[in-house]
Amino acid sequence: MSNYKSKYKKNKRNIFLIQISIASIFFLVWEILARCKIINTFITSSPSNIVETIINLYQNQNLFYHIWVTLSETLIAFTLTLIISIIISIILYKNDIIAKIMDPYLTMLNSLPKVALGPILIIWIGANEKSIITMGILITIIVSIQTIYNGFKSTSATKIKLMRTFKASDKDIFLKLIFPQNLRIIVSTLKINTALCLVGIIMGEFLTSKAGIGYLILYGSQVFNLDLVMAGVLILIILSTLIYNFIRIIEKRLEKC
């Protein structure tokens, strides 16, 4: 038993070491190739240039302000998506006819590339933060509605019958059965949503923005500063990983009970 456990732990540590090595070697090779002028840093940038750019951003240009702008836009879009999709899911769950009517539209909207709506948003809402947040919502909302609604629909008929034997009202059935039963589905939707939402926000920032990581990347590419572009991408990777892990911690908590 303990033998198995130590073997398992050792395995896990080895995998982790290999993962770290791959990243390290990648950056190392990149740096060496840049230093030996085998690749053109004007186009590819280099790890040391990226680090320097980030430090520079931090010292002179409010690095955390840009991060905060993107993060807050993501959080707002994410929260609104969650609230709206739960409300719409409840409406669809309660009205089978509406759900059936809406079904092909949801499928259609789901397969529509949302970026295409960007120019329309700018004209309708304006070149401001609202358009960016709307983009974040658009990109996630259809999938959220479909997942949460399907979760609601799959609530066991026997459990609903049981609730009815205790004369439960529709509200009881929702609050004590359907919602807790689907909490896990909702949280795992959230996990996918945060990543998707960030995609939407960056897309929005590409369309119109005065600050944010998307703005940094776009600005960098316009002035052909690849160091800034790569720094932006690296920050995004770190940011999305942090958000993802945060949701995973919540999910783990839920699994325990």
Binding site: K161, M163, R164, T165, F166, K167, A168, K176, P180, C257
Partner: protein, 248 residues
């Protein structure tokens, strides 16, 4: 005997895209106060349908049901339907909570039932760590906790092994008598039905009609386990078995 419920000409047809299913037809019987009434019949004949209608879960039927008193009904379903995200104790208290009857006294009563039925060490565990028999006991306690006047039970002991089954049916029988409950039970098990019942209704195969109603009169009637030793036991077993046999 006082009549508690009068069921007259009950019929039910399920309608679905695949067509109509005549589940029960022209079922008429009375339920007497404090009696233990068991319904037996071949599988799929319409037993659960009758219980669903009695509990008013299913309101689409022909015929009439008249209650002579205003009484609360408890219904233990065929499936345990425990909530995986609630502990055993929370599951057992669920019915009380929804009926808004949860207070110190009812909570204590429920916990005493859990303790008595071998679930003392499982109160804070989740249903996934319970055996089939234990799950069924929690489901039974969840209904018993609400102290219904009429208790409807759909194959309440089917997931228990033989030994536990004898013991639990003995215990449940005692609680039922103590609380002055009236019981309508659905069962597959002839011996069990004879040992607990005052009357047994035999249903025909689908659409279920009442084939026979037997009054079970055992000499020295006592607990279910003891009742199995009564000299009339074999006689009833024989006629019920023949009745059911002709069904299939």
């Amino acid at each position: 005997m006082d009549t508690l419920v009068q069921i007259k000409n009950l019929s039910k047809t399920y309608e679905s895209i695949d067509g109509k299913v005549n589940a029960i037809k022209d079922v008429t019987f009375d339920i007497y106060k404090n009696e233990f009434l068991t319904i037996i019949g071949s599988s799929g004949c319409g037993k659960s349908t009758i219980l669903n209608i009695l509990d008013q879960l299913d309101k689409e039927y022909q015929g009439t049901i008249e209650f002579t008193e205003d009484i609360n009904i408890g219904y233990m379903l065929q499936e345990d339907a425990l909530f995986e995200w609630l502990t055993v104790e929370e599951n057992a208290l669920l019915g009380l909570k929804i009926l808004k009857k949860l207070n110190d006294e009812t909570r204590k009563y429920t916990i005493s039932l859990l303790d008595k039925y071998g679930l003392k060490d499982f109160k804070d565990k989740y249903p996934k760590s319970l055996s089939g028999g234990m799950r069924q006991r929690v489901a039974l306690i969840r209904t018993l906790a609400t102290k219904p006047k009429i208790l409807l039970m759909d194959e309440p002991f089917s997931a228990l092994d033989y030994q536990t089954r004898l013991q639990v049916s003995d215990d449940v029988y005692r609680i039922i008598k103590q609380e002055g409950m009236t019981v309508v039970m659905v069962s597959h098990d002839l011996a069990e039905s004879i040992s607990v019942s005052d009357r047994i209704i035999v249903l025909s195969k689908r659409p279920a009609t009442i084939k026979n109603i037997y009054k079970i009169e055992l000499s020295n009637k006592s607990t279910p386990i003891e009742n199995r030793k009564a000299k009339e036991f074999a006689y009833y077993y024989d006629i019920l078995w023949k009745d059911l046999d002709k069904n299939v």
